[in-house]
């Protein structure tokens, strides 16, 4: 029998692989639906005019806990509609409030939420967002419903949503509640759970709004959006570089996400004997998901190559899979995994690894509870340790990073910075652009190398505290190294300032853990995605099962 171990970080934490991750049962929007299945979803206020502008409030409650989404929709001109973070107006703006908002809260939020970054929230608010209509889809649906027809499904599938959000903020931004105030609530123990709740409720608002506008337009003839079609619509999202620094700046959280995914894979590979039921479940999900892939439209050559590679490899995989007598095999999934690793590209390998989790609630559910992390606990540097310890950690945890030659220009091409205008992360070529003296500390591989070169000339019995007294500029990197000693998947094992960097790989890693689908890069720095496509509607959630993610367009 083979040794079945966790995959090595040198293999997993490469950006090309992380940028090939797909949603799975561990993803946050799926675990949100499972966690909130038995909560009560209600529409408490719906005060929209005939054009769909006004205020609506939705609530999610169980026992004495209530979360409310307050929606503000308004008219904007076509030339004001932009998905870029520089926009100042949006079709709709949303805030998730802790509890039931009173009239004063709603009035206060009305003055602030539509202004987004320049508004101020309070610690009673938990998450903030805004969204723009997909105008072509929105208008098409209203035109159809108002004359008694359902919209063209094929047309809808090309986009997959009525609205797309352009930012979802949480954790203390713009005065929102700090995470520490709420992190011990059991129902929101998973990362980004409140953000997932906000997006789910926004989706419900989009359906209610479109039904309302259609009815106002033609009360006699209009019909409601068919539930099956609604279910097949999610919420879009435009995402830029803002997400990339997050995964570098939250090393223990990144570790938790990857470690639990890797642990799931290992435990599945260790299963001695699979059952017919488990195989049937896997085949069901695989079959359904293939149809989803056919609706992943993009103009991006980069993404189209990935989709093509996925489709081709899936064909190969199916041919192989059909030949295996799975019931007679010991460690069947391990054999499958080894074949996948040997024969398929990263895009399909990671797709199938996600798929292998589908039949195994018993393995995944305990892991879902461990997807958070308390970064603060690991902030202190154990400065009484020796330089020798530091050297040993670097040589064992950063092998491939030490091989990068930073004397070469191509290894130093980019620098990360925060734009003065929008206080958002950006990346630029340090040899062409102004500003590299204000570089953010995100060039981890370069700084590790710099530290290592220094350590090679050091007395190894010197304490880290003593070394730090002369080397302030390396303090941030020494902190990380001690974190990586404890958390093997805490570092991207790649160069985040290399000429060959594809920043959207970093975004996709995070988005896959959100549960996003339909990756549609618009450049190497931003992309559109879709969330909750196929998800049960608020009044169906109680009876839903976790296979909904594969049910869209089927």
């Amino acid at each position: 029998m083979h040794n079945i171990n966790l995959r090595h970080p040198e293999n997993v934490m490469k950006l090309s692989r992380l940028g090939s991750f797909h949603q799975s049962k561990l993803s946050f929007l799926r675990s949100f639906i499972r966690e909130f299945k038995y909560w009560e979803f209600k529409r408490d206020i719906f005060e929209l005019d005939k054009n769909g502008y006004g205020v609506a409030v939705y609530s999610v409650r169980k026992n004495r806990r209530v979360y409310s989404l307050i929606c503000f929709s308004q008219h904007i001109n076509a030339n004001e509609r932009s998905d870029r973070v520089i926009a100042t107006k949006w079709d709709a703006a949303f805030v998730l409030h802790d509890g039931v908002p009173n009239q004063n809260d709603i009035e206060r939020l009305k003055q602030n939420v539509p202004r987004q970054e320049i508004g101020r929230m309070s610690s009673k608010e938990l998450a903030l967002s805004r969204a723009n209509k997909s105008v072509r889809i929105f208008d098409h649906v209203i035109n159809a419903l108002s004359i008694g027809n359902q919209p063209d499904i094929n047309f809808l599938n090309k986009v997959g949503y009525l609205y797309r959000t352009t930012a979802v903020y949480g954790s203390g931004k713009f005065g929102l509640a700090d995470r520490f105030r709420i992190k011990d609530r059991r129902e929101i123990c998973g990362p980004f759970r409140l953000e997932m709740m906000l997006v789910y409720l926004v989706r419900q608002f989009t359906f209610d709004q479109i039904n309302h506008i259609s009815k106002m337009k033609n009360p006699e003839q209009s019909v409601k959006l068919d539930k099956k079609i609604a279910r097949n619509l999610g919420i879009g999202n435009s995402t830029g570089l803002g997400m990339a620094p997050f995964i570098v700046n939250h090393p223990t959280l990144l570790h938790q996400w990857i470690y639990n995914r890797e642990k799931a894979l290992k435990e599945i590979r260790l299963i001695k004997q699979v059952s017919q039921k488990e195989i049937n479940h896997f085949k069901f999900c695989l079959e359904k998901s293939k149809k989803n892939i056919d609706t992943w439209y993009t103009d991006s050559d980069y993404q189209n190559k990935k989709i093509e590679s996925l489709k081709n490899d899936l064909k190969k995989f199916e041919e192989y899979f059909l030949t295996i007598d799975y019931l007679s095999k010991n460690n069947f999934w391990n054999e499958i995994y080894l074949w996948i690793d040997k024969h398929l590209e990263e895009e399909c390998s990671e797709y199938l690894i996600s798929m292998m989790m589908e039949p195994y609630d018993r393995i995944i559910e305990p892991l879902v509870k461990n997807m958070s992390s308390d970064e603060e606990k690991y902030f202190n540097i154990p400065a009484s340790r020796k330089i020798l310890d530091l050297k040993e950690i670097i040589t064992s945890k950063y092998k491939s990073i030490l091989k990068i030659n930073f004397k070469e220009k191509r290894s130093n091409t980019f620098f990360w910075f925060i734009s003065k205008n929008k206080e958002e992360p950006r990346i630029a070529n340090r040899f062409d652009e102004y500003g590299s003296d204000l570089e953010q500390p995100l060039a981890i591989a370069r700084d590790i190398n710099q530290l290592y070169q220094k350590i090679l000339k050091e007395n190894l019995s010197r304490t880290v505290a003593d070394f730090l007294s002369d080397n302030d500029e390396l303090r941030h990197i020494i902190r990380r190294i001690f974190i990586s000693e404890k958390f093997q998947y805490s570092e991207i094992q790649d160069n985040t300032i290399s000429e060959s960097l594809v920043p959207i790989d970093m975004l996709r890693l995070k988005l896959s853990f959100f549960g996003a689908q339909k990756f549609d890069p618009k450049s190497d720095k931003w992309l559109r995605i879709c969330m909750y496509q196929g998800a049960p509607l608020a009044d169906e959630i109680k009876n839903s099962d976790d296979t909904w993610i594969f049910s869209s367009v089927n």
């Binding site: 203390g172 931004k173 700090d178 603060e376 540097i381 880290v464 007294s469 303090r475 941030h476 902190r479």
Partner: protein
């Protein structure tokens, strides 16, 4: 109201802009957050200090001794970081004195975190004010409202030994009261209520 997350990030960035490294600036961000959480004027003090050092970045003490003087004013941040990094060793000094420290409130979070690492309370005396820092959990002070002190001509740090605050007599009296929750053991209970055998010579 600003969230603590905003306080941390703005303090970090402002400190970087005034010449501290990213690693030290991260420490400052956490420190100011901590001060504000303990209702001490972190933002106001940092703001004044960063303006003061804007054109003349402070030097570090070479190392921490029992008594510390400098040619100029002592930086509370570099000193705080140095205490934090070396707290296991310098606790042996028991009492450490600093003369002429700028904006000394900024050293409090580093002492608070050091207190947690060495698992001892730390007492800080500055300008007639006393702060007791307890394992990064609480900060006690003898003054109603901490000002954003510009300077401490003398500042004393004392690592307090872990000891009880009560007398033996007080402990015994309380223990006696606690005994009233016990059931007196009768012969019958001796035989039947315990787990072990009556003779264990087998």
């Amino acid at each position: 109201m600003m969230s603590f997350s905003e306080i941390e990030i703005v303090s970090k960035r402002a400190s970087k802009s005034k010449g501290y490294s990213w690693g030290i600036s991260e420490e400052i961000g956490k420190s100011v957050r901590l001060l504000e959480m303990f209702n001490l004027p972190g933002i106001s003090t940092l703001n004044q200090y960063l303006k003061k050092i804007s054109s003349n970045h402070p030097k570090k003490l070479k190392n921490i001794d029992k008594t510390n003087k400098s040619d100029g004013e002592i930086c509370p941040i570099y000193t705080g970081v140095s205490i934090l990094d070396n707290c296991n060793q310098i606790q042996e000094f028991k009492v450490i004195k600093f003369f002429n420290m700028n904006y000394p409130l900024l050293i409090i979070p580093f002492l608070s975190r050091s207190s947690e690492i060495v698992n001892k309370q730390i007492c800080l005396n500055l300008n007639d004010c006393k702060y007791i820092l307890n394992s990064n959990k609480t900060i006690l002070t003898n003054i109603e409202k901490s000002g954003d002190f510009e300077n401490a001509s003398e500042l004393t740090i004392e690592f307090l030994e872990n000891k009880n605050l009560f007398t033996d007599i007080e402990w015994k009296e309380l223990y006696k009261m606690s005994e009233d929750t016990f059931v007196p053991e009768t012969e019958s209970l001796k035989n039947s209520a315990a787990g072990a055998g009556l003779t264990d010579n087998d």
